[in-house]
Structure formats: structure tokens, C-alpha cells
Amino acid sequence: MALVLNEEQQMLRDSAKTFIQESSPVSALRDLRDSGEEWSPELWNNMAEMGWTGIAIAEEYGGLEFGYVGAGVVQEECGRTLASSPLVSSAFVCASLISALGNDDQKASLLPAISSGESIFALASSESQRFDPLAVTMAAVPEGDSYVLSGTKVHVIDGGICSNYIVVARTGGNAGDSEGLSVFVVAKDADGVGCQSSLNADSRIAATVSFDEVRVDKSALLGDPGAAWQALQRAMDIGAVLSAAELLGLADEAFKRTIEYLKDRKQFGVVVASFQALQHRAAQLFCELELCRSTVLKALQALDEDAESRSRLASAAKAKMAKTAKLAVNEAVQMHGGIGMTDEFDIGFFMKRAAAACQEFGDYYYHADRFARLGGY
């Protein structure tokens, strides 16, 4: 496959850019923060109307079956304006788990509502502060026709606004084992579910979700008991690559704003963009961003092809992007000087969102280590 966007993907990018710049500029995130609202249902409805919630869902379940390159294109544009929505959680990551593990009935009852935006799913997986999808201890104990779930999940993104959780729990094995992981659908309002939202540095909200002997029917289990790891790995790859796509838009936008600022700001009687010390750093960052763009697109294509190299490319993309995004926002604040430190100016929002997005689905260190492991060293 040629490493370029095809015509359809370019059209999606153009329409996504126009839509998101108009309906959710950076000021929308600021307004959300200042008002204390957890999210914007209006933006979500508009995204659903645009069809974005169905991009990665099969046509037979009401989706567009457009693929992950399309999802990445949309995420990149969302990253540019820091638009906040449960798109990745619900329509891309949780939908992939249901598609991969669910039986026909489960898919028919769950996917159309995700595709239409009516239901919002959040992934309740992490139990540790640093990303580690195998470090799950939460137990799912079979009892008659039910499973009983007990444990606590941390940093559940969109956990406060969703309608359902996809919960990763153990029906076997111990923390660190890939065997024994199972995936359940649990309604947010089920008995025994407790949800505590908290505000993060990026002005977004994540939840700590507790499960106190939550009883679910056996039909809530997706796939065979204890056999979810393969699908989970793929879902985590999807999450990692799409968070890399968001970071690509974010870093590119922070970079563009910085270059514009350098061309505008005068000191010593000249624009500061004329200083070679700044020019070389800007040029270096430009190169890093170009390399990121190639790697992210390569990884997105590998998701669509479900290539053998998928996981390795996903880790390369997230690692490269996380490192570069940090460089981009650090350079952005430094090159903006004092004004970059003020809350009134937008560039700080880019730095804060980058820090959070770098961690989602694994940061640089996690993915560099995984890249090496998958490479046999």
C-alpha cells in the first residue's frame, strides 16, 4: 500500500479540519474547564452526525467501515484543537473489543448504539499508575449463571460520562499473565459500581471506578473466559496509534503556532525568527515531526491490514510521537517566552494535553521497551 492518504481519506481530513476548527476550537476546552462541565454532549452529537462514531465499525452493525487510517485522520484534527470527546474510548477501542470478541447477539445489541453515538463505552482496565495492561488483579468469579466482579480501576478515561464499561478482569492466572484475562460489559448504573471523577492537568476528567461484588449475567462476558489477551493487545495497539495520531495534530499545531509567533515577535529591533539559534531548533523539530507523520501513517495502515508487524509499528509510532510531542510543547513554551507561561495564552493547554496523551495507552518508555521485546531483544 502506498504510504499516502488516498482521495477519500484526504476528503475526510479536509471535512474534519473544517468541522473541528469551527465547532471545537481550543477556546471550547477552556470554556469547558472554566464552567466545570465534564464534557460537551453537543460536540458528541455533531461528531456522531458526521459519522465519526461509525468509522471503525462494520457496515452490518451500522458503521461506515472506513478503517483506522480514517480514524487517525480525524484524531489528528481533534489533536490540533485539543477537542475532547469519548471517540477513542468508545468508538475505536471498546468497539474493537466487542467486534473481536463478541458473539453475533452481543455485536448486534451493542455495536449499532456505539456507532450512532447513543451509547458511550469506556475501557476499565488499568489498576496501576503506569500503563501495564497485564497488571490486572481484579477478579471475576463465576457463580451459577453469573460472574461476580470485585476490584478497583484507576484512570478510566471517560469513566464519568459513559453509559457502560468494558471491564478487564481475571477468571484465571495472576498479575502479569496473559492467560486468564476476560472482558465484561458492565452498565455504569449497575448495583455495586461506584464512580469518582477527578480533574486532570489537561482539563479532562478521568474516573476511579470501584466494583463491589458486582453481579453480571454470563452473557456479559465477551468471548471465551480467560482468552481476551489477543483482542486486548489489538485494542491497546489501536489506542496507542490513535493517541499518537492525536499527538501528531497537537504537536504540529503547537509547532505552527510557535513559528508564527517567532515571525511576529520583535526583539533587538528584528523578528526573533531571524536568529539562527532558534532557526536550527525549529528545523530540527520540523524533521522530527515529518518522521512522526510517516510512522503514524505506517502504523495506521498496519491496523487496517492487521499486518504481522502491527504491534511493533504501533509501539514505534507511539514511542516516536510521545518523544517528539514532548519536545514540541517544551520548545513551544520556551520559544513563546513569558507569554507562553500565562494561562491566558493557549499554548500551555497544548503542553498539558500532551503530557496526558503521551501516557494514554503507554508512554515512550513503555513502548520503547515493548518495541525492543517484540524485536527479540
Binding site: 502506498a2 499516502v4 523578528v271 531571524s274 518522521l291 505506517k298 525492543a372 531483544y377
Partner: protein, 391 residues
């Protein structure tokens, strides 16, 4: 697409049948590749056959027009040929500055007569070319070059010297930047000349590098007569040709950032030499530096792929050569640094002059970010031409 699949099948079959066994072995020394020219001798029969067979189809220069001996392939077909050659670890049949640098410039700027005369012999590897660009006082500031070419009616008379002329001692002809207008501003008075290195008045001296080897020369020109028909393009407009050619040179040098076909990756080399414990390299710092390098290497290879595909799809930014030159050469330097660390004391072995030990290659790689325009010059170009930063 169906045509491309047919082309792949035919190419695969042809390569299987025609690429001799010795030409499917990794390149181990600087002496292994075939550079062609009047002075060269084939290392073995396989090398001769491989060149002959590939040149006959024009596949030493796959995308050049058939009328000048090229392969006439589309970008897509050339990519397929490249992939199929890599698949069987086939060597490039001909290494050539004629192909990588001069040819594209001739195709764009030369007269029909010049194309007919020079391009077919480049394709067949009959003439080895060297590049006369840098001078002792014109390095990064290339356009300040001083070598003179005076108009003597039916010929130009050349005086001056060039430096860093790669393999000048082994080359047959030179493409050379000379000053033909001594009053104009520095970019305006430069012309692009071709001439035979056997012309009276040409002499070469090898320059010994920190690697102990001498791939470069200082080349001196004393009253060298060059026929006027050897001027490429217009008089005093040579700088345009020089810049065009430099973009091809940068892409070639930037290609050093790609790992060579059939060669161990860094991590494979490390695992082989140092061993693994629980499936991992035991030195954590080295392991993470190798991972960082290999992620960058993959990102770079993807970027080369994207640049080619974008050009094909007409989406190119046209600014890629500086980026590839900068990043590729810095990567190659990192690769060599890591290879030295992996090799430990064994990597310090110096060996005989003229051999390619690890230590010598490591030292040679330091020149990658200097030759063909330093990394700092590439950063200047990116800042000014792509990012539009002033001054």
C-alpha cells in the same frame, strides 16, 4: 494494478534466472561494489555478467528514458524492481555518481547531443565520474568558488583547484563548477563543465582521512583546455544546475541512514555479540539506546517511503532532500557509535590501510554530516525555504 503484478512476476522470474550467486551476497568491503570506468577490473565473472545483464535492460538506471539506454520504468515499476532485488539480496549492479548525481542533471539541462553522448555510457558503467565542487576556500559557502575558466575562443582555459573530489584518482571524467564571469555577484558567474581527467594539466593528490583511508582527493588544474561544447546549460547559469544536482546528492547521502540489505540490524548484532538474558540485552542503557535508534531508523525508512509515494501521487513538498540528508547522516553516525559500543575492545582493531574495519567506518561516518552540505547548512535550508524564517 494488474499490470504491476504482472511486472512483479516477470521481474522476479528474470532476477531469479539472471542474478548470479556471488551478486546475492552481502557487501563486506569497500572493494566489493562495482564502480565501473576505464580503469576498473571486474572482481569475478559474476560481477561482469550482472552488470552486463542489468545494463542491457537499462536497469542500472531504471527510470531513465529508453532512448538514452535507461530502463524507462515508471516510479511504481522501479519500486517493484527495488523490492524484488532486495528480496533476493541482489547487489546494485553499478555504484555510480553518474547515475546518482550527474545523470539527472544532464537529463534536465544538457543539449540533445550531450545526452546522446554521455548518458548511455553512464548507464553501462563505462565512464566513472567524479564531482568538482568544493574548493579549499569554498566549503559550506560553495558559491564563493574561485576556479577560473577563461574564454579562449574555441575552448576554455581552466586554472584552480578542487578539494574533497571523491575517487578523483580512479575517475575518468569530472563534472565541475567553474567561475566564468569574474565581475558578477558570486551566484551569477558560475558555469557547469564536463571534461576528461586525462586532459593535460590535471593532477590528483590523495587526502588521508582520520580513518586512515583515502576516498578523497585534492585535484589541481593547470592550464587545462576544455572544448566549448562541454559546457552544460547556459554560460554563467551553472549554479542552477549545481543546486539541482545537490538535491540528488543529498538524497544519495541521506540513503546512508537506511540499513543495508542483508546486513544484521543493530539489535541482531548486539544479541549475537553480547548474548541475551531472559530474552533481553542485559545492559539496560545500551538496550534502550538501541531501541531508540531502531525506532528512529524505522521512522526514517518510512519517511523515505512516504517521500517517494507522495512524489508519485503528486503530493510532494519538494523539500525532502535536506531533511533526508540531515536525518540520514545523523542516523548513520549514531549507528556507528552504537556499533562501537557493542563491539567493545574488538571494535578498536585498526587493521591494514585500505580495509574497512569497524573503527575506520565509524571514523568515516563522521564525514557524512559534513559532505554534500553540512547538517548546519541543511538546517539553514529547512528554516529558510520550508519554514520561511527570515535572514
Amino acid at each position: 494494478m494488474a499490470d504491476l503484478n504482472d511486472f512483479r512476476e516477470q521481474t522476479r522470474a528474470w532476477l531469479e534466472e539472471n542474478c548470479p550467486p556471488l551478486m546475492r551476497q552481502p557487501i563486506l568491503s569497500e572493494k566489493d561494489p562495482w564502480w565501473g570506468g576505464r580503469k576498473a577490473e571486474f572482481l569475478n565473472e559474476d560481477q561482469r555478467l550482472w552488470l552486463e545483464r542489468m545494463a542491457e535492460r537499462g536497469w542500472t538506471a531504471p527510470q531513465w528514458p529508453v532512448e538514452y539506454g535507461g530502463g524507462g520504468l515508471s516510479r511504481e515499476e522501479a519500486k517493484v524492481l527495488q523490492q524484488e532485488m532486495e528480496r533476493i539480496l541482489a547487489r546494485r549492479p553499478l555504484e555510480s555518481f553518474g547515475i546518482d548525481m550527474l545523470g539527472p542533471a544532464l537529463l534536465k539541462f544538457a543539449s540533445e547531443e550531450q545526452k546522446q553522448r554521455f548518458i548511455p555510457e553512464i548507464v553501462r558503467g563505462e565512464i566513472r565520474w567524479c564531482q568538482g565542487y568544493s574548493e579549499p576556500n569554498a566549503g559550506s559557502d560553495l558559491a564563493s568558488l574561485q576556479m577560473r575558466a577563461e574564454d579562449k575562443g574555441d575552448h576554455y582555459l581552466l586554472n584552480g583547484s578542487k578539494v574533497w573530489t571523491s575517487y578523483a584518482d580512479q575517475s575518468d571524467w569530472i563534472f565541475c563548477l567553474v567561475r566564468t564571469d569574474f565581475d558578477a555577484t558570486k551566484h551569477q558567474g558560475i558555469s557547469f563543465l564536463l571534461f576528461d581527467m586525462e586532459s593535460p594539466g590535471v593532477s590528483t593528490n590523495l587526502i588521508k582521512l582520520i580513518s586512515g583511508n583515502s576516498p578523497f582527493c585534492e585535484t589541481v588544474f593547470e592550464n587545462v583546455r576544455v572544448p566549448k561544447e562541454n559546457l552544460v546549460g547556459e554560460l554563467n547559469k551553472g549554479w542552477d544546475i549545481a543546486k539541482y544536482l545537490l538535491t540528488h546528492e543529498r538524497e544519495m547521502i541521506g540513503g546512508f541512514g537506511l540499513s543495508k540489505t542483508g546486513e544484521d540490524s543493530l539489535s541482531q548484532a548486539a544479541a549475537r555479540k553480547l548474548g541475551l538474558a531472559n530474552g533481553r540485552l542485559s545492559e539496560g542503557g545500551l538496550r534502550s539506546d538501541i531501541a531508540e535508534f531502531e525506532i528512529d531508523e524505522l521512522a526514517f525508512a518510512s519517511t523515505v517511503e512516504r517521500v517517494i509515494d507522495e512524489a508519485k501521487a503528486g503530493q510532494g513538498t519538494g523539500a525532502a532532500s535536506s531533511l533526508l540528508k540531515l536525518y540520514g547522516t545523523e542516523l548513520n553516525k549514531s549507528r556507528n557509535e552504537l556499533l562501537m559500543s557493542i563491539g567493545g575492545s574488538a571494535a578498536l582493531q585498526w587493521g591494514e590501510d585500505g580495509t574497512t574495519t569497524l573503527a575506520r567506518e565509524w571514523l568515516r561516518s563522521k564525514g557524512n554530516s559534513i559532505e554534500g552540505g553540512t547538517s548546519e547548512i541543511q538546517l539553514n535550508i529547512i528554516a529558510k525555504r520550508i519554514l520561511g524564517m527570515p535572514g
